[in-house]
Every structure is written in structure tokens, then in C-alpha cells.
Symmetry: C2
Subunit: 485 residues, 2 copies
């Protein structure tokens, strides 16, 4: 099968040699100003043309009164002007041979106003007649670290392998920002709002063919063509995981998506069936979307469910066992062959030690957590290891920091040697500003960063880790059953 023409169209959109920001302004609080500033800050290397008849220079860049006055070619227009001026801008775009326009401009069909609805219809029709592709209206457009194009301040500009298709502009930026903290880097992201022209399915098809994109995230409020969406989605999930968060699942949510992106939310039951049949991975919250993204970003295609858990005291181990098993994973008993080896050190082992491994029991038995972790890593009884930080201990500062770290170095070693997939659980307390100097929280922040730098998936609770991993295992088990791994 060959990519359709839409793939080439979207690829061109992501590679503009020049961008015009129409409605750029000196007024710092205006979005036209913010867009220009973000492109300058992110280091976009193509030509940048602010357009505004009432300005001469913004951020040291020459401003053009109109598109027509720009001397060179314009590949991509970011439109920040009032909706009623858009039809005229499209006509100018046609004359300038602009093939792609991102309409940040909103106050269209999402307002529920009939005139605004018709204006959006007219914009859509005119763009089609003129052969112009639209992103939006009412959205943030594109983020592509490869070309240093961004849609929000201070986003990470290092490229990665996650592509995101996000109907909400605010969430698009938040997803990139929060995932970056977890070490996730993006190939390309699009926020596409009301989807008057280019839709979620067009971008999904694009990511199917985009070699840099290995994992796809979607935040969807509605879809334009259910049948095509299903067919493309089913096709994509055969080679790339697609993680979907659906907004508008409840009565209030359905009303909200209408006022947000003029979307028809549809019945959540239908959605769930469609997503399940197409083998998309469903997230139920923004936090879960990011946890799933972390799991798929770091972990290999695991198809077994047996987890070995090491770290934390007794209560924490009990709860980890519950949370892993309730999520559908198997906290597999420590096998006889490991027990026999440990028994030589201390005969009490067999009656006392269980998985999840409680580090207080290890201490009582004079066994290092690194030792049992190393044995588990070499055992075919486990498909995955979870190293949990031991925050819950009665030690003063220095001993506590050592204890916290106790099984982590061995986990990192196992990960580096590729003996077994490893994930980590490090708590994320809800601190206040006056707690920033506290050594405990700093130790957790340091540990998390260290693990992420090693390329380990870090979660803030066993429950969250367990849910994400089980969905990953389900997905890859399906792929394996189809011979597609």
C-alpha cells in the first residue's frame, strides 16, 4: 500500500521554509505576539514574516502590512486575526500561492452562534475551492522539534519518537510539557481544534507513514468520519501503538466538547467498542495518557505478565502486590531455585520472603536487595521487574538517602545490561513552595531524574505503573497473536 496524497500534504505542512504570522502584534498579551515570540524562542530557522498593517517591527523583525508585501515565498500561515477577516486572508493566500493555513482564530462554530457556524462553513468551502489546507480553526497548530517549530513557551526542543494528535490546544502543550518531565520526546504534535478541513484521521494516516513516529497519542472530542477513522486506526495499530484519551464521555463532558471544538461527542459506549475493536489503547485521564506514553516509550514489547517487585517496607509491598494483581498482572512467587540459593545464607528465607520483596525483611535476613534483584533478573520466572523506592523507613538523613537508593543501582545495572525490562516507582508528594529545600523531596526528585536519564520508565505509584503495563502487555500480546511483533 502507498501513502495517500494527504500524507505528502501534511509532511509539507511540517516542513515550511517560511512562516507568516498574520495578526502579529507588539501587544505582548496578544496571541499574535505570543506565536511570533514562541517561534523566535524555539529557534525556527526558516524565514519568519510578521504581518500587520499597523506595525513596523516586532521583536526586532520587520513587519509586512500584508501577505502580498512579503518579498519571498510563504509556505505556512499562522492566522491570529478576527474570524470575519479570514475569508479575505484566504483569497490573499491563494494569490501568494500559500498551500497551508493554521487558523488559531476561533469564535466560530464552537460558540453555538448560527452566523459563526455559517462563517466557518464558508471558510471551509473557500479553502477547498482555493486548494488551501487548513489546520483548525480554534487550535494551536503544530509543534515539530525537528524544524524547531513550537506552539507554546519553553517546550523541549529535542526530537523523539512520540507523535500526538490533540484536539485541544491547551492539552497539546500540557502533554508535551508533562511528558518531557518523564523523559518522553516527541516527533511531531498537532492541535487541530474544530477540524474544519484536516482531521484527526488525516494526521493519524500521516503518522502511520512517518518513520520518526513510533508511538501515537490522541486526545479526541469528536470525529468527522467514523468509518474512515476506524479503518485507519485499525490499520495503524497493527504496527504502532495508538493511545487514545476521549474527552466528552459524560453528560457534562458532551456539552463541553460542543462549546470547546464544536464536536459531536458521540456515545461513550460506541467509542469504547470502536477503540477496543481497533485495538487502540484507551486512557481515562490525562495522567493515564502520560503514564501509558511513558510505558510505551521506554519498554520493549513485553507479552508476559509476571512481575518481580523489590523495594519499600512491608505495608508498601502489600499494597504493591494488591495493585499489580488488581490491574491484571501476576506477582509471581519467588521460584524454588532462587529460594534455595538464598536459603544457604539464611534458612529462615523460605518461610518469610515473598514477592513483592519487603526490604525490611531482607535487612532482617541479611540479604542485599541487589542480590535478590539480580537473581530475579536472571530467572525466566519473571517478565518484568519493578524497583520501588524505599521512602518509608525510620532513618535519619544520610542513612535514609542510602536506603532510598538501595535497590536502584542494581536495577539500573540490570537495565543497562538488558537482562530484563525494568520499571521504577518513585513517589511524587504534593509539595508546597516552602518544602523545596527539604532533603527528602530533593532525594526523590534526584532519584527520578537519575532513573529517567538511564532510560527507565518511572511512575509515581504502583497502581499507575500496573495499569499502564497491563495495557502494554495486552497490546503487544495481541500483536504477537497476529504474528506482527
Amino acid at each position: 500500500m502507498q501513502p495517500s496524497s494527504i500524507v505528502k500534504t501534511i509532511d509539507d505542512i511540517f516542513h515550511p521554509s517560511s512562516i507568516a504570522v498574520v495578526g502579529a502584534s507588539q501587544e505582548e498579551s496578544s496571541f499574535g505576539h505570543q506565536y511570533l515570540q514562541v517561534l523566535v524562542e524555539s529557534g525556527y530557522q526558516g524565514r519568519l514574516y510578521p504581518v500587520n498593517p499597523r506595525e513596523k517591527e516586532i521583536l526586532g523583525i520587520r513587519v509586512y502590512p500584508s501577505l502580498n508585501d512579503i518579498p519571498g515565498k510563504v509556505d505556512y500561515v499562522i492566522c491570529c486575526i478576527n474570524a470575519r477577516l479570514v475569508l479575505d486572508l484566504l483569497a490573499q493566500c491563494a494569490r501568494k500561492n500559500v498551500r497551508a493555513v493554521h487558523l488559531f482564530t476561533g469564535k466560530l462554530s464552537e460558540t453555538g452562534d448560527e452566523k459563526a457556524y455559517h462563517l466557518e462553513e464558508d471558510i471551509k468551502k473557500q479553502a477547498r475551492d482555493l486548494g488551501i489546507n487548513l489546520i483548525g480553526p480554534n487550535c494551536m497548530g503544530i509543534y515539530y522539534p525537528g524544524e524547531r517549530i513550537s506552539f507554546n513557551h519553553d517546550l523541549c526542543m529535542e526530537p523523539g519518537s512520540v507523535g500526538a494528535i490533540v484536539q485541544s490546544g491547551g492539552l497539546a502543550g500540557e502533554i508535551v510539557r508533562l511528558s518531557a518531565l518523564r523523559g518522553v520526546r516527541f516527533s511531531k504534535v498537532v492541535s487541530y481544534g474544530n477540524a474544519a478541513d484536516l482531521s484527526e484521521t488525516d494526521f493519524l494516516e500521516y503518522f502511520l507513514w512517518d518513520n520518526a513516529t513510533k508511538i501515537i497519542l490522541m486526545y479526541l472530542e469528536g470525529i468527522k468520519n467514523g468509518r474512515r477513522f476506524f479503518n485507519v486506526l485499525r490499520r495503524v495499530t497493527q504496527t504502532k501503538p495508538v493511545i487514545v484519551l476521549k474527552g466528552g464521555r459524560s453528560r457534562a463532558g458532551i456539552k463541553s466538547v460542543a462549546s470547546h471544538t464544536a464536536s459531536i461527542a458521540g456515545s461513550i459506549n460506541t467509542w469504547q467498542v470502536v477503540l477496543r475493536q481497533a485495538r487502540a489503547i484507551q486512557a481515562n485521564s490525562l495522567n493515564e495518557l502520560i503514564d501509558l506514553c511513558v510505558a510505551f516509550n521506554y519498554l520493549p514489547p513485553i507479552t508476559g505478565k509476571r512481575v518481580g517487585v523489590v523495594g519499600g517496607g512491608g505495608g508498601k509491598s502489600v499494597l504493591a502486590g494488591d495493585e499489580y494483581e488488581e490491574a491484571g498482572l501476576e506477582v509471581a512467587p519467588i521460584p524454588d531455585e532462587i529460594m534455595q540459593l538464598l536459603e544457604k545464607k539464611n534458612p529462615r528465607v523460605t518461610r518469610w520472603l515473598v514477592n513483592p520483596v519487603d526490604v525490611s525483611i531482607l535487612a532482617s535476613l541479611n540479604i542485599e536487595s541487589a542480590e535478590i534483584l539480580s537473581l530475579m533478573a536472571r530467572s525466566h520466572y519473571y517478565d518484568l521487574l519493578s524497583i520501588n523506592s524505599s521512602e518509608d523507613s525510620l532513618f535519619n538523613k544520610d542513612e535514609w538517602i542510602n536506603f532510598l537508593q538501595s535497590n536502584m543501582d542494581e536495577g539500573i545495572k540490570i537495565h543497562r545490561e538488558g537482562l530484563k525490562p525494568v520499571i521504577a516507582v518513585v513517589g511524587n508528594p504534593e509539595i508546597g513552595i516552602s518544602q523545596l529545600e527539604n532533603y527528602r523531596w530533593r532525594a526523590l526528585f534526584r532519584l527520578r531524574e537519575q532513573l529517567i536519564r538511564e532510560g527507565i520508565a518511572v511512575f509515581s505509584s504502583s497502581g499507575q505503573a500496573a495499569e499502564a503495563i497491563r495495557k502494554l502487555v495486552d497490546y503487544y500480546s495481541y500483536r504477537e497473536s497476529k504474528g506482527g511483533l
Copy 2:
């Protein structure tokens, strides 16, 4: 009904005029040393007697070779010596007229070793014969800010109204520490481990009569006497909320609780029925336990389910609507009377504005979020308001910080005036150590602390807030139906 003698017994335990730490040591990594250090650090004002035949002085405090050598009265013994020495210590305690012993000492029945099991039985029998009450073995004992008694380093020493009964020692400290970050303060906490003598039910009965305790948290692995537990629990929940996290719900968890506190976990189905029938509030994870604690700590006895939600952009509002409604709350439509007032400002309001209130729409309509929040606070259509921080916006530093804060000041005002119960949702990104100076995260940490200082319940996601609030509403609705509010 009068309190039973156990209440007086436990109250005496919490008010010792002197404490002996048996097994105190110069060796910093020993628990005997840690216990003594924690009592000194926390500022315990009674007499403190380290006991160890091989030491002269620890942390500047005179050490006694044995209990018998202590000149004064000893009210409470913290025992950190080896299990095989405990029977002899109990005999000494009897001679010294000590009425309460906390056995930090472990390696007893939880090890699964038959000899250790019998030793624990002997300890229990001997204590009973000698009229000595035991806490433990294998636990952290008591934390009581009122007497500046603590069981872990750096715990907050400000007293509050939450009592906690925690079978796990590690979790006991973590619960106090993590809850303190959320502004929760404790009346008294006990970690009671294997519960050879004093049990979860004894402490529950104590908290029923303890006037300082308004809310009770429990982390339970097993129970000693199911019938008595149920009867006491049912009685307590008629006047005080009891939030229960059960550890050992799964196959792995059940094995873990045996090795942790020698508890028989019991069937989780039976537990759920018992807890539901007794009207306890069930938590499914440590995070949920703390969220519930925050909800009950700050909120009045709300019995209505209609929430008004303000803050955050479109996608965030959609998801908040979904999460509140999926939890069983009602995101009630904005009533006509408010719509009519707002329509005078902008006729587009009625077709566009919904609850949850998207701040981007407000900005487009030139309506301040404070204005709509104030109207909602005065409307009888809402039982509760949720103010959500607006992290998801395209603004640079200064404007972003203002935007983040936009509806917060009004929320605080409404809370101060007592117009309506208010909760807040402020994100809790999983930051690494190199992100500590980042203005975004600092602004969130500052905002969280400000809200908590005002006495507002802060949650890190709408989903978590919604679950906690719905359980609170269910509990108080039950109390109201019984005429007990």
C-alpha cells in the same frame, strides 16, 4: 454508654510522664538509637531513659544498665532488643510496675517460623499474666504531637484532628508525612504491627471517645475479632468518619500480609461487605487514603452532589466534567438566572458557556472568572465549587502566572466568607531535581501552599477530587438520613 476500661488504658499509654528506650545504642544505624534520637528531636518533655548494659551515655543522655537501675517511675517502655530477651524484660517491667510496653522488636510470628510463633504466644501470655499492655510486636508504636512523642524523623509536631490506626510502621510515618504536606494535622497515630495484645478495635474504640479526634484513618491487614470490630466500627461511623485502606486484597497481597504482620487477610469480598455495612469509607490506595483524609479534614458535611467547576482551558474543562460525573457527582448546568445576568454583558453567553467553565471562553466573552465564580457561590444550584488552576495556556512567564492565579483569589474569598464549600485542583507534575528553579513548577508549589494555608482542600487532579468528594457526600448523606448530622 460509658467508655470501657481499654479507653483509659490507651489514654494512659499516650500520656507517659517517662519513657524508657530499651536497647538504645550509640550505633547510629540501630533502631534503638533512632528511637531515642527521634524523641529528643521531637521535643518530648517527660523523662527519657535509655537502657543498655553496654553504654554509658547516648546523645548526652545518661544510660541505665537495666530498667531496675532507673531511679524514677517508668510509664512506657519502647523495646528495641532481640525477641529472645523480651520475656525477661517483661518480668523486669512487672517489678518496675511498668504498665505499657511497645515492642518495636520483630522477627516473631511474621517470619513464619514455628519457634518464633510460639515465642510470640509466650510473650502475649506473660504480658497478660503480668497485667502489662503491649503495642506490637513488629511496629513503630505511637506518634502524639500533643506530648511531642514521635516515631519517625522530621514529622510535623503541630496537633490536629485526624487519628490514625496503621498496622504498618512504614506507612504510619508516610501517612503523617504526606498528609502534612496537604495541611492535615493529626491528633494521635498508632502503628500496632502483629497486634498480639492491643488491636485495631481497641484503638478504634479509643478514638471514638477521644475528643480531639474528629476523623479516623485505618490501614488494616487483618483483624483479630471480626464481630467486635464490626460492632465498634458501626458505632464509630455514626459520629466520626472512618476511612479504611485494606492491605492484602489479592493473592500476592494476602501472602505479603502474612509475612508482614502475620495477619490473616481474609476474603476481600467479605471485607468490602463488612466495611460497607458498617459505613466505613473505603480507600483503594495510599494516595486515595490521603485524598479522602484531605476531603474530610477541610470540607463541611456536604450532602449535595452539584458541583460548579471553574478554571483551565477547553480540554481540561471537558475532562473535569467527565471525571466529576463519572465519579457520581453532578456538574450542574449554569442556571438561567446566572445566564441572564451574564447575557447583559455579552449575548453570546447562553449558546456558548457551560459548566465546567472554560476560562478561554470567558476571555473571549470578556467575562472575569471571578465574576461567574461569585455568582455560582451565591446560587442555590450548587453545593460545592471546584477552582481549577489554569496551567494550560499559551502565555509567557508573567502573564501565565497571572492567568494561573486568575480564579484563585475569588475562590479564596468565597471560602473565607463561607459562601460555599470550595476545593481546588492544582496539578502535581513529576519533576526532576534540575527542574526545581523552573518558574512554572514553582508557581504551582506556591499556589498549592497558599490555598492550603487558607484551609482549602487541594487535589492534584479532578478525578482524584471527584472520587474523594463523592465518598464524602455519600457518607454524610447516610448520616443525614439517620438524623445524625
